[in-house]
Amino acid sequence: MVASHESLAIFGAGERRDRPLRVFVWLQRKPVGAVSMGIIVVLALAAVFAGRIAPYDPLAQEYSAVLEAPSRHHVMGTDNLGRDILSRVIYGARISLAVGVVAVLIGTSLGTTIGVLSGFFGGALDLIIQRVMDAWLAFPLIIFALGVLAALGPGLPQTMLAVGVVSIPTTSRVIRGSVLAEKQRVYIEAARAIGAGHLRIMLRHIVPNIAATVIVLASLTLARAVLTEATLSFLGVGVPPPNPAWGSMLSGKARDYMLSAPWMAIWPGIFISLTVLSWNLLGDAVRDLLDPRLRNA
């Protein structure tokens, strides 16, 4: 992936009057990306306004309505404790997106910092950092997250931290590569020639020029974060019950009653798939948009 000066035209270097037109053109050219963005916006709004949208309290148990099939009263059915699945899915969006966003903030900020330092300074620092990242990457992502949660215990903040931490090495690697390419450019040499220090060069010149890379990476990382959180909750080590995390909704009783009440597993499964797919496709679309070689592909 190549980040270029031209890509900044979308975000800020172009005429402000032209920006809505550019976005409209982009939407037309990348309908899948547009749809994905729409889905993400809807999910985000559902997460934010869950209290207003959800028809029931996601934790309210109604024992006279256990394992009810989808109906007028419970659009997505109920689970083994009579809880409304639609309400739990809506509140689950809150958990998934919260974990995703915080994990991306942790992973992207730390990964970018490490990648920029490693790529910019090179030498012994780069060698040490990259060997550490190699060792880190040797661990399967889930195993590493499990290890973090084993140390911290289950819970929402702990899950955010675990999911965020596992994305640091991949982010740093990609960013390092971008920094290595950028620091060879003439404008960096020019900045050095006029006396700019390392910090100024990194913050004022390199980081803005790799912003597109960071943005695309963030969207892809968020998709992975949502899936990781779902996996950890499925395994019973993520967000503890009775919180309506999509992954934990898929495990346990949903599997026991797969034959008699498949809606318990189907709906959270659909939403996990939809969310992960949307973020991936959005990331792809943004990448195509920012990479001049792929923009017209």
């Binding site: 899948v32 934790l59 148990q61 024992y63 006279s64 256990v66 394992l67 009810e68 099939a69 989808p70 083994n80 404790l81 009579g82 289950p154 019973g236 503890p240 019950p241 009775p242 346990g252 009783k253 599997r255 026991d256 009653y257 797969m258 034959l259 008699s260 009440a261 498949p262 809606w263 189907i266 499964g269 659909i270 798939s273 797919l277 991936n280 496709l281 792809d284």
Partner: protein, 576 residues
């Protein structure tokens, strides 16, 4: 009738990544839509037309032949019966390949747990000499699978090795054999066991699958029981591939007069629960236990010829407390929790109203040993409607200084069937009296560790017993019990009651003592019992006389007695 010796009287595509994702998502959405539209009905499959188990009262004659197909959701790395992780699992290591000195008489009907009758096994005779001494005449001519001859020394060795800390025996094994003070071979075929204290359950405890007899010579010659099976059981180990399959074949040298009926047992390991259900529906597995009717109905709908039987599980779900520190050191707080729990609603949630509301120790069904049901349902905590109990619970909390409630934790084993459901129900019910309990899921090993330490607040337990409530009483309510001691249960009067049942060998009188124990536990709120699920047992119509362990696992307690109708069984059962 000699009332001093109770036991002598009574005994299982070039396509781009983008295009691929697009096509797969379209297909996935279509499949999901079809699934939702096609599944818009409640899971209310009907029971099999056969109704009761075909094993019950069958007039068919047992036939030799056939391989039982058995699936398990896990695998074991260790085949040593004293240390295997299978001790807390299905128990296939112990039941298929090993024998015991004495055993329980496992009958399909009536429920074997009612009498828990002990009968001879590797000991052809046994006698209780006095309250703490038993002698056993070891059967002569019995050979281990490797040809070693069985003697009294093997029995002594088998019991003694469990006391060796270097062996690291499974705590479940130790718990049942802990009362053995001394094991001696008084001659080549006579064993004398001396217990630390009189215990009416002693013979039953050594009759459970944990007290397997192994070959002393094999181990002392360097044999590794963790990798090899050398027992005297009705089957020999033919092959074992961890996480894959195992095969037990008929032991041709079995001491049983007619040997086993089955040619063998084919085990498929590490099978997901839903896969097992599907496999039973298609006839690929012969025996299955499901937790409730909702899980069993779709299977029976797909396999209407399968036979079923319902029975209460061998455990009482409930809540116990860490009484070493506030707030649960206060009786009023524990009583408030007990009162707040709506047992009927909990049963509706966890077993669709088909479970059994129980006292704290003895599963309802062992009549005379538990508080009578009609009396129990009028007690505080059990009575309906709940408004009175909830009001009283709030009053007790206020008196204890918690008028606004308090925050606490409720731990449970995420690996034990239904504990999470019970935990969520209890959490919701405690909220109405102001107790905000956050749930703490633990894996099995961590759960057991937490129970044995005073580092938790409340915990969901699934113990209590139909067959042997005495051992549960000692573990969970006796002052020095493995679970009672660390959680501050220290009640000398209750200890006396528990000791008195251990030395009472009259069935009815012992039952009366257990009723007193139950009332005492409820008065002191050492446990807030909830209910016992009624499990649904399923077997294929060609399988007969299978006796299960009455818990959530399809253990084969009597592998030597199970048999198959060759004409009904599919061809796959006639060959390995």
């Amino acid at each position: 009738m000699d009332r001093r010796n109770f036991w002598t009287q009574h005994s299982p595509a070039p396509v781009s990544r983008r295009a691929l994702i697009h096509r797969m998502s379209a297909g996935g959405v279509g499949l999901a839509a079809a699934g939702i539209l096609g599944c818009g009905r409640s899971g209310s499959g009907k029971q099999t037309a056969a109704g009761a188990s075909g094993s019950a009262g069958t007039t068919l004659q047992p036939q030799k032949g056939g391989y039982l197909q058995h699936m398990l959701p896990y695998s074991v790395a260790n085949l040593d019966p004293a240390t295997t992780e299978d001790a807390t699992g299905y128990g296939f290591v112990e039941t298929d390949w090993y024998d015991l000195l004495v055993r329980i008489q496992y009958t399909p009907n009536p429920d074997w747990r009612i009498l828990n009758k002990v009968i001879p096994s590797l000991a052809e005779r046994f006698e209780q000499v006095d309250k703490t001494t038993y002698t056993f005449s070891v059967r002569q001519g019995v050979k281990f699978h490797n040809g070693d001859a069985l003697s009294a020394q093997d029995v002594v060795y088998s019991y003694s090795r469990i006391k060796d800390p270097a062996l690291k025996p499974n705590p479940s094994v130790v718990r049942y054999l802990d009362n053995i003070d001394k094991a001696e071979a008084t001659d080549p075929y006579t064993v004398r066991l001396t217990t630390k204290r009189p215990d009416a359950d002693f013979l039953a405890n050594i009759s459970y699958r944990y007290a397997c007899i192994v070959s002393k010579r094999f181990v002392e010659n360097g044999g590794d029981l963790t990798k090899t099976v050398v027992g005297t059981g009705p089957f020999k180990l033919s092959s074992y591939q961890r996480d894959s399959t195992a095969l037990a074949v008929r032991n041709p040298d079995s001491w049983l007069p007619s040997g086993s009926y089955l040619d063998g047992i084919k085990l498929v390991l590490k099978v997901d629960d839903s896969t097992m259900s599907a496999a039973f529906a298609t006839g690929d597995v012969d025996i299955l236990i499901r937790h409730d009717r909702k899980q069993a109905d779709p299977i029976l709908k797909a396999n209407p010829k399968a036979l079923t039987q319902n029975a209460p599980a061998d455990q009482v779900y409930g809540v116990t407390f860490n009484q070493t520190k506030p707030p649960f050191s206060d009786l009023r707080v524990r009583q408030a929790v007990h009162l707040a729990i709506d047992r009927q609603a909990a049963d509706q949630a966890t077993n669709f109203g088909e479970g059994v509301i129980c006292g704290p120790l003895v599963v309802v069904g062992k009549t005379g040993w538990h508080i009578p049901v009609d009396e129990m349902l009028k007690l505080p905590g059990y009575r309906q409607p709940k408004a009175q109990d909830v009001t009283e619970a709030k009053r007790l909390l206020a008196g204890a200084g918690f008028a606004s409630g308090f925050k606490t934790t409720l731990g449970f084993s995420s690996a034990t069937e239904s504990q999470s459901a019970y935990a969520e129900v209890v959490q919701a019910q405690l909220k109405q009296i102001g107790i905000d309990a956050s749930l703490q899921p633990w894996d099995n090993a961590t759960y057991t560790q937490h129970r044995a330490k005073p580092d938790h607040d409340m915990v969901i337990v699934s113990e209590g017993s139909f067959s042997s409530p005495g051992s549960v009483a000692y573990a969970s309510f006796y002052s020095s019990g493995v679970f009672a001691k660390p959680t501050g249960v220290n009640d000398p009067d209750l200890d006396k009651l528990i000791d008195s049942q251990a030395v009472e060998f009259d069935f009815d009188k012992r039952g009366t003592i257990f009723q007193q124990i139950e009332r005492w536990i409820l008065d002191k709120a050492y446990k807030a019992p909830i209910s016992t699920p009624k499990l649904v047992r399923l077997n294929q119509p060609w399988v007969h006389d299978w006796v299960d362990s009455k818990n959530n696992r399809a253990t084969v307690m009597n592998p030597d007695a199970v048999w198959m109708s060759a004409d009904q069984a599919p061809a796959s059962r006639r060959q390995v």
